[in-house]
């Protein structure tokens, strides 16, 4: 599926964004808005590492696609699995929409909900070891049901 792409390791940003542009530039979208997340060199990390639970990621993404289509838009996303070193990309999201206002609002909501809900777990890579980034993580809505 072009709309949701997962890769082992760092994202080939130019291939992904150029591919989306070529695929959708003739679909009469007036605005194509892309957000590229780049791993920063901070807190003495060598990079980040990710686990993804794909079944729920797919249903989360499908629900967003329906929401976007209701506004005449589409959402696109690419994410890394495994290790991603500093100064490379682990996450790209994009919106194609008829006009810019719908697109700008949608990409903001899409990225924020991604951060709060998408079943992806982040680890810092420090001295070759993965350390779960608990403090930067968000409990999914409804967490604590079994406590």
């Amino acid at each position: 599926m072009t709309e949701l792409q997962l890769f082992d390791g760092s994202l080939p940003v130019e291939d992904i964004t150029n591919g989306w542009y070529k695929e959708f530039k003739n679909s009469n979208y007036g605005a194509i808005i892309t957000f590229v997340g780049v791993v920063r060199d901070e807190n003495e990390i060598d990079g980040l590492s990710f686990d993804i639970y794909e079944p729920i990621l797919n249903s989360w993404f499908d629900a967003w696609q329906e929401k976007a289509k209701a506004k005449g838009a589409i959402v696109l996303m690419a994410h890394s699995k495994g290790d991603v070193l500093n100064h490379t990309s682990s996450y790209i999201s994009a919106v194609c929409s008829p006009q810019r206002r719908v697109g700008l609002e949608l990409i903001d909501e899409f990225v924020e909900d991604f951060k709060a809900s998408a079943p992806i777990w982040k680890y810092d890579i420090i001295d070759g070891k993965r350390e779960y980034a608990l403090k930067r993580s968000t409990a999914i809505n409804g967490a604590g049901l079994l406590s």
Partner: protein
């Protein structure tokens, strides 16, 4: 019999249990001290659908997943 899987950083092997609702699962998992903080901050899915009701009846072959706090991007 249902399967319970612990996603992401929880790092625990799946369990097979003979239970009929999530109240029973909660009672069993609370006996494992290594899971105490995970039970407080994890969401629960049955067959890949997030749920918020402990009284849902479980069927033979169901898959229950614990999803700890997330941080994509």
């Amino acid at each position: 019999m249902v399967t319970v899987e612990f996603l992401g950083p929880i790092g625990k092997e799946p369990l097979k249990l003979d239970i009929s609702n999530l109240n029973q699962l909660s009672d069993i998992l609370k006996q494992d001290e290594s899971l105490t903080s995970w039970l407080q901050n994890s969401a629960v899915a049955i067959n890949d659908m997030l749920v918020q009701d402990k009284n849902i009846e479980l069927k033979d072959g169901d898959k229950i997943s614990l999803l700890p706090p997330v941080c994509g991007g």
